[in-house]
């Protein structure tokens, strides 16, 4: 079922369609890193304008400028023909621009109706109290216009993720938004809910509201968008009507270079099975995950943002242990209930969020690297500073960490070098199994290729590597095998030779008809909802 509106056409046909907002020559940097450079972008009335690009391309930053969270360092934003200077999201809201972030941010203990009104002037009764009846009625009306029937009195915490998103949308619309920015809106939605969302979007555009649709799901983008803008490395690459592009070209524009030039792996010679995972399950996150990584092999874990790969990795590493299934290291079944027990078994995990999870920013480079092996560097509890220094120096040199002395704070380093510090810390422990979660995100090109060489060498040394990455070309270039995850389940497994962008993406998005991928694993029953979960066919 598709929305009543064809992609590529729709209400935006006429040439005099007014522009809702317009970004011109916008630039933004954080510290020394340029997030957005010289970007133009505009949104027209009644259009769905998709914004695509790899992780770190600058999409979210650009939209946060429109939303008032950031102010541009250069360039300007025009709303309704007038220059706008927002100092907070509230200003943006008052100008009619609303954003539905990826992580919907609501007040969980407050009712649905109240969430729609927080921050607004609240209706009052004759004697000065809050007029709940009016609020509830207005809320109900709004939801009705979205084609949804909610009990507006229940606390939001009782709603499913999909329904919370609807609440966020309703909240945006209650403010008479002219533009709605949606950041990865379908990341945690099942097919049925995605349909419902598309219906809502088509109703919005029919009434003249413009929608910016940020997503990785190319198939959806082609279904609903009128125009597509591609960003890469903070720059604006191209803006075209959706009808003039196809998936292959889009990917090429996003990635920027032909796949083969990225990196060439040296031949691999996989040994015994180092890590084996069977039927790993954690309610609401992933289910029935089977995985195998041999020594000397790089296995890629591909999939869309939010597919559950990080959750699987963190379960193997003991951060949030799985509820069912088993993990075997070198053939032996193990119970991993904490990072320490994982580390003891020779597993180490390099987290996704470098600064908040991988590094202790006030610490020196040396202290960060040695944190994982302090017990080995100490005698009777006392840290041997010479051993520590030598170890840190050894790793700093091996990984070419540049930008500061090892005694200086790690916060002074660039993103790429910081990532190397995190890698050094993991390698210091000499793990036999290494799980890398988006290791090259936010890393400059030079450091990226150094990290690729490192991974290659580690594989040659016989380490078993699980590489989680949302960059398709990176996955295809670096991995001996690719396992695809979709909504918490394995939906595909490819050998290096047979893996293609198309086949991996298909398994990641569940596109191909007949290859009906499984729906999300059963979430816990939520009170207040009598939601029906449609049955799904078996997976590939």
């Amino acid at each position: 079922m598709s929305p009543s509106q064809d992609s590529g056409e729709g209400v935006t046909g006429t040439a005099e369609t007014p522009t809702i907002f317009h970004l011109e020559g916008v630039e933004k940097h954080f510290g020394g890193v340029v997030a957005v450079k010289g970007v133009d972008f505009d949104l027209r009335r009644g259009e769905v304008h998709a914004l695509v690009g790899e992780n770190g391309a600058g999409k979210s930053t650009l939209m946060k400028i429109v939303n008032g969270l950031y102010t541009p360092d250069q360039g300007r934003l025009e709303v309704g023909g007038k220059t706008a200077e927002f100092s907070s999201p509230r200003d943006a809201e008052e100008s009619g621009i609303a954003m539905i972030p990826q992580e919907v941010d609501l007040f969980l203990e407050l009712s649905v109706a109240e969430n729609l009104f927080v921050g607004r002037r609240l209706p009052r009764t004759r004697w000065g109290g809050l007029d709940w009846a009016t609020m509830r009625e207005a809320a109900r009306e709004k939801f009705e216009s979205l084609g949804v029937d909610f009990d507006v009195t229940i606390p939001v915490k009782h709603l499913s993720a999909a329904n919370r998103q609807i609440v966020a949308i309703a909240r945006a619309l209650l403010r008479e938004a002219r533009a709605v920015i949606m950041d990865e809106p379908t990341a945690s939605l099942a097919d049925r809910e995605t349909r419902r969302l598309f219906g809502i979007i088509s109703d919005l555009t029919a009434s003249g509201v413009g929608v910016v649709y940020i997503s990785h799901r190319l198939e959806e983008i082609f279904e609903i968008s009128d125009r597509i803008t591609v960003m890469r490395d903070g720059e604006h690459i191209v803006t075209k009507p959706a009808s003039e592009l196809d998936a292959e070209e889009l990917v090429r524009l996003m990635v920027g270079r032909p796949l083969s030039e990225l990196f060439t792996r040296s031949g691999s010679d996989p040994g015994e099975v180092a890590l084996e995972v069977r039927s790993l399950t954690r309610a609401g996150e992933f289910a029935d995950v089977d995985l195998e990584v041999h020594a000397g092999e790089v296995v890629g874990l591909a999939g869309l943002v939010g597919a559950g790969r990080t959750e699987i990795a963190q379960a193997i590493f003991g951060i949030r242990p799985a509820e069912g299934g088993e993990v075997r290291v070198n053939g032996e079944a193990v119970r991993i209930d904490s990072p320490q027990s994982a580390i003891k078994r020779g597993i180490f995990y390099v987290p996704e969020e470098r600064q908040s999870q991988g590094l202790i920013l006030p610490f020196s480079i040396r202290a960060n690297i040695s944190l994982s092996i302090l017990d080995r560097l100490s005698r009777m509890g006392l840290v041997e500073s010479r051993a520590e220094r030598e170890t840190a120096e050894r790793f700093a040199e091996a990984l070419s960490i540049r930008g500061a002395r090892i005694s200086e704070s790690v916060s002074r380093l660039s993103g790429g070098n910081q990532q190397k510090v995190v890698l050094a810390k993991s390698l210091a422990r000499e793990p036999s199994i290494l799980i890398l979660d988006e290791p090259t995100r936010g890393v400059d090109v030079g450091a990226k290729s150094e990290i690729y060489s490192l991974i290659d060498n580690l594989a040659k040394e016989g380490k078993a590597i699980l590489l989680i990455s949302s960059e398709l070309e990176e996955v295809l270039a670096m991995c001996d095998r690719v396992v695809v995850v979709r909504e918490g389940r394995i939906t595909g497994e490819f050998d290096r030779k047979e893996a293609t962008q198309e086949s991996v993406m298909a398994a990641a998005t569940g596109v191909r008809s007949g290859s009906a991928a499984n729906g999300p694993p059963d979430r816990e029953k939520e009170s207040g909802s009598s939601r029906v979960q449609e049955g799904r066919a078996g997976h590939e």
Binding site: M1, S2, P3, S4, S88, P89, R90, D105, L106, F107, L108, E109, L110, V112, E114, V118, G119, L122, G129, L130, W132, S145, G147, V148, D149, F150, D151, I154, K157, H158, L159, N163, R192, R195, R196, G199, S202, D203, E524, S527, G528, S529, S530, R531, V532
Partner: protein
């Protein structure tokens, strides 16, 4: 409306059992159930427990704590804490008492007490919001600083000789009901209305539930918290006149330890120490529960020296239950 949309299944109208379940998930529910159970148990174990006069006695005893707790509830709801109320009560009682011995009547002492409390509360609020000092530090420091101020003002001597017309709020009765109980219930109704129907009352929940989102939505987080601290001062001032009435004199140690009973009343009743969840009813239930427990413990023959122990155990029990509940619901915030 688009016709191409699949049939909608959403959060529908709840069935009866659903309503009951929904009610049970309210913050006050466990405490209320526990209170009822406890009253039954005590009335069976100790004769004469459930008699009217005894219940009123209990409520009168917890009135001072309950009134202050109604305000501290707001502070905790918006994500902060206030442990300075013991010394604040003493200070308010001293100024109210001095006004009483000087001029008599009810109005002047009440004004004096409330003004003193409001100023102290404002200082707390100011230091927390503009000074950006964690509330625990501010109120811990004020707990001792204010005690010092008391001793400074009184020079170490008691305030005695409170005239009878001032004491009405503490020992008077109206239509058979003790005045402290009347004041407690009146303020409870006020806070219930504020919590449910005033902008500030709802803002408190928003700020405590998700401070970041509240700020982004344009709520004045600082002003909301500041007013909560001032409210504590005001209510403490009111409570101090009741205290004055009941005690008839003010020692320099007046109010020592009250801050703990106040916090206990708030958390035991069901308000979450993490903020964003709770109600005025929770406070009323909590204060009553504490009164019942302490009273029941006495009736059971346990010496009063064990009171603090029971209090501490209650606080720990309440927060543990809250933590378990949060884990079961899946700590969202």
């Amino acid at each position: 409306m688009s016709e191409a949309r699949p049939p909608e299944v959403a959060e529908g109208r709840p069935a009866l059992s659903e309503s009951v379940r929904r009610w049970l998930m309210r913050p006050e529910a466990p405490a209320l159930v526990f209170l009822v159970l406890l009253m039954v148990v005590f009335s069976l174990a100790a004769d004469g427990f459930l008699r009217g006069p005894n219940i009123q006695t209990i409520l009168t005893q917890v009135a001072v704590v309950g009134i202050i707790a109604l305000a501290v509830n707001q502070v905790i709801l918006c994500g902060e804490i206030d442990i300075s109320t013991g010394s604040m009560l003493g200070l308010c009682a001293v100024t109210a008492g001095m006004a009483a011995t000087a001029a008599g009547g009810l109005v002047l002492p009440l004004l004096a007490g409330v003004a003193t409390g409001a100023i102290a509360g404002a200082v707390n609020g100011f230091l927390v919001t503009l000074g950006r000092i964690p509330a625990i530090i501010v109120t811990l420091g004020m707990l001792y600083a204010l005690r010092g101020v008391i001793l400074l003002i009184t020079g170490g001597s008691f305030v005695t000789g409170i005239p009878a017309d001032t004491r009405v709020l503490g020992i008077g009765t109206v239509l058979g009901l003790n005045t402290p109980v009347i004041v407690l219930f009146t303020l409870f109704v006020v806070m219930a209305l504020v919590g449910g129907h005033s902008t500030w009352g709802r803002n408190v929940f928003a700020v405590g539930g998700n401070r970041r989102a509240a700020r982004l939505a344009g709520l004045s987080v600082d002003r909301t918290r500041f007013l909560a601290f001032v409210l504590v001062g005001v209510f403490t001032g009111i409570a101090s006149v009741i205290f004055l009435g009941r005690a008839g004199a003010v020692q320099t140690t007046a109010g020592t330890g009250i801050e703990l009973q106040v916090i206990a009343a708030v958390v035991v009743g069901g308000t979450s120490i993490a903020g964003g969840r709770g109600s005025a009813l929770a406070v009323l239930v909590g204060a009553t529960l504490i009164g019942v427990i302490l009273n029941g413990v006495l009736l059971l023959g346990v010496p009063s020296v064990w009171q603090d122990f029971v209090l501490g155990a209650l606080i720990l029990l309440a927060v543990s239950v809250d933590a378990v509940r949060r884990r079961m619901v899946g700590d969202e915030a």
